[in-house]
Symmetry: C2
Subunit: 427 residues, 2 copies
């Protein structure tokens, strides 16, 4: 009983985090203790992987009961993960109007504007004055929570403009709503991507945005609180992608499931590691004669990797934030090359001196470390700007593959430049 009353004092978000933080076995025990009225909100907050597992163990009636109080856009997200037969039954349990609305939301991808749309809005026909609008509002039992705008449509349900709720208090009640209506904010098309939605909200500092279909018919609105979740998802998946992870995975998934998911990334890396080793193997006889080269070569590779990664992250984020486009890419490239030249030269001198002092190598080897490092840092700056643009052009998410490509490149180049120069100059 202690757990139950503790549970009911938590928000659905907190319960979801608690469930995600548990091993599958304990998770199911706790899930059974969640109050039915919270179940839908908790499901909505869970990562896909965990949600899926909990839903798999519920029967259709339990799912209907759990999801009946959800907003339609959230319900749509959950239904997307269910077998068609159960989805149909859940939809049949709704009233007619909600069925139509839900189906319109579900026809769009989860990560599109349509998928983020809440169809539960207030819309009115044009031609009313403020007084009759207020009378209409009073006749409703309850307004949708957090209503900021009332949307004006024509007889074909086409979007015309929006009226701020706050203005109803201060404007003269006899004037027509068209006069206080804002028709400046263009509605967004339901087929737009989640990224476009995020950019539009940031761009115009919006708190809500009307959504229309191809024929300009009003489907609903996207509110900024849903955009918050979309932004979190975007940032999360970018960070996770850099390490070949998926942000919708259960962190306590069974060991073999987690292992398999990560194995792919390790395998890809093993392939590139063998590439790097093959490059080194070309210079076996050089290393055989001057063994200190094997000691110093990781320095050259790692400094190139660090410098390249700095440029890479700057560019990947810059593209995502709209600060970097192809129009300023060339200027950025030349700037990054200059920075690489300055830092590369500075650290090349330092590394040359320390290589000689710390490892008692000859000054020739010291200079070769420095020059090959400068070369590696300089090339990595070029790669750091080019790789994300190239990947984007061929339709691969830069966050996903740039890091591996960069590491492979700076490793191969670092080793080859260093060992190659040594072979040329010292043997």
């Amino acid at each position: 009983m202690g757990i139950r009353s503790k549970l009911s004092s938590l928000s659905p978000f907190e319960i979801a985090r608690l469930l995600e933080a548990m091993e599958p076995r304990n998770r199911e025990i706790l899930w059974r203790m969640v109050e039915q009225e919270d179940e839908g909100e908790v499901l909505k907050e869970l990562v896909e992987d965990v949600r899926q597992k909990l839903i798999d163990q519920m029967d259709t009636n339990q799912i209907i009961a759990a999801t009946q109080d959800l907003e339609l856009d959230d319900l749509a997200d959950i239904l997307n993960d269910l077998p068609d037969q159960i989805t149909d039954e859940v939809i049949r349990a709704l009233d007619r109007q909600d069925q139509i609305r839900l189906e319109s939301v579900m026809s769009y991808d989860e990560d599109s504007a349509g998928g983020l749309t809440n169809p539960n809005i207030l819309s009115i026909r044009r031609g009313l004055n403020i007084k009759s609008l207020i009378r209409y509002l009073r006749s409703l039992e309850k307004l949708p929570e957090n209503t900021n705008y009332i949307y004006v449509i024509n007889r074909n349900n086409e979007y015309i403009g929006s009226v701020k709720l706050v203005d109803l208090f201060t404007e003269d009640s006899e004037i027509q709503i068209e006069q206080i209506m804002d028709s400046q904010v263009a509605p967004i098309s339901a087929s737009s991507s989640a990224e476009q939605v995020i950019l539009t909200f940031q761009n115009l500092d919006l708190i809500s945005l009307p959504v229309v279909d191809k024929k300009n018919r009003l489907l609903g609105e996207i509110t900024v609180d849903d955009v918050v979740d979309a932004i979190q998802d975007q940032a999360n998946s970018e960070i996770f992608n850099m390490a070949g992870l998926d942000d919708e995975d259960d962190i306590f998934a069974p060991i073999f499931v987690s292992s398999r998911r990560r194995a792919i990334w390790l395998g890809a890396n093993l392939f590139t590691a063998f590439l790097v080793a093959s490059a080194v193997s070309l210079f076996q006889s050089t290393i055989d004669q001057i063994v200190i080269l094997a000691v110093l070569m990781p320095i050259v590779a790692s400094m190139g990797g660090v410098a390249g990664n700095q440029t890479l992250i700057l560019v990947i984020r810059g593209i995502a934030m709209g600060r970097i486009q192809s129009s300023n890419a060339i200027r950025l490239l030349s700037k990054e090359m200059m920075v690489a030249l300055v830092n590369g030269t500075f650290w090349a001198i330092i590394v040359s001196i320390f290589a000689v002092i710390l490892f008692q190598t000859s000054w020739e080897i010291g200079i070769i470390v420095g020059i090959s490092m400068l070369l590696n840092i300089f090339t990595s700056a070029i790669a750091g700007v080019s790789i994300p643009f190239l990947l984007k052009k061929i339709g691969i998410d830069p966050a996903l593959a740039s890091g591996v490509m960069m590491t492979t490149l700076t490793d191969v180049l670092g080793f080859v430049a260093f060992l190659g120069l040594a072979t040329l100059l010292l043997l």
Copy 2:
């Protein structure tokens, strides 16, 4: 004139991105073309580094003119970057009420709840009924844009509860506001951190939150659109910190400024690279005798690095999202160790076989590569869970230093395990 009319069709957000995407010289030319009424909003949207440079070239009157239409919380952010004397003059240009409000916001850190607070809200004394509240609203010239709540205070300005604006339309106009007032949502303290604000909004799915000072006096509210910016900043700085970058830097800063900023990180990495090289140098005579070891050793180090990084990012993000706390860290640790064991063993077998086939080494060396790689992957899982917790305990941002520590550890460990085992077993 073409540019000017193009400019006026852009939103402040777009103009800010455009300015950031330009070289300093062109930036100043464009800045002079921005309409005065947009200047404040554009300044607000710029990264700190660029904003600072533009403001440095404006005189006090220009700054006052540019910032006069800003919301007070945004004005406070900008004033924080200005010399005290100019700040004082800008404040003196405000009306008395705004002066008091602004000073209360400015007394809090930019990244605290107080710094995110918008003091321009509607608050009323308790004891009114709905009818008189509506009459009061009608008497105002304009309500603050995007008002969702009206806050109820007592005679000491202490927060009591909040009334939803939408409820004013549907509730009976004779009842007291206390009856429809929500006193459930606890106000947040102005000294709370931005992270706490973000967590609270996500936790309770809020669209606005009242902010109080230490004595429970109402200061204003935080709205979800400001939280959107805070979330973007948080995600951005996490990604940038991983590469030792600062997300508030100008990407087109002068070359020597950028070089100096990045040099620190390269220097830190050079130090760890020398550590790694020193570890390798202990085994010079081993490499001298079996040169293929120098070829294979990068594989061992890099596979440990990749596996360790996966655990690391999972844990850093998990902590930031509230999915991982010290209470489930041990279970996560044991799970990550099991995953490392499974994947380490699997890839150790693969790498042993391929090392023998591709590089014609002896099977003993093949097995030593495999075992040392397994060892490295396994240890990196332990480090991936422990490092972020250790750093957090000693007050260092895990995103900033974890990556370098992990790379150094897996490099040193990979080389030492591999070369050490080879020395022990083969010589």
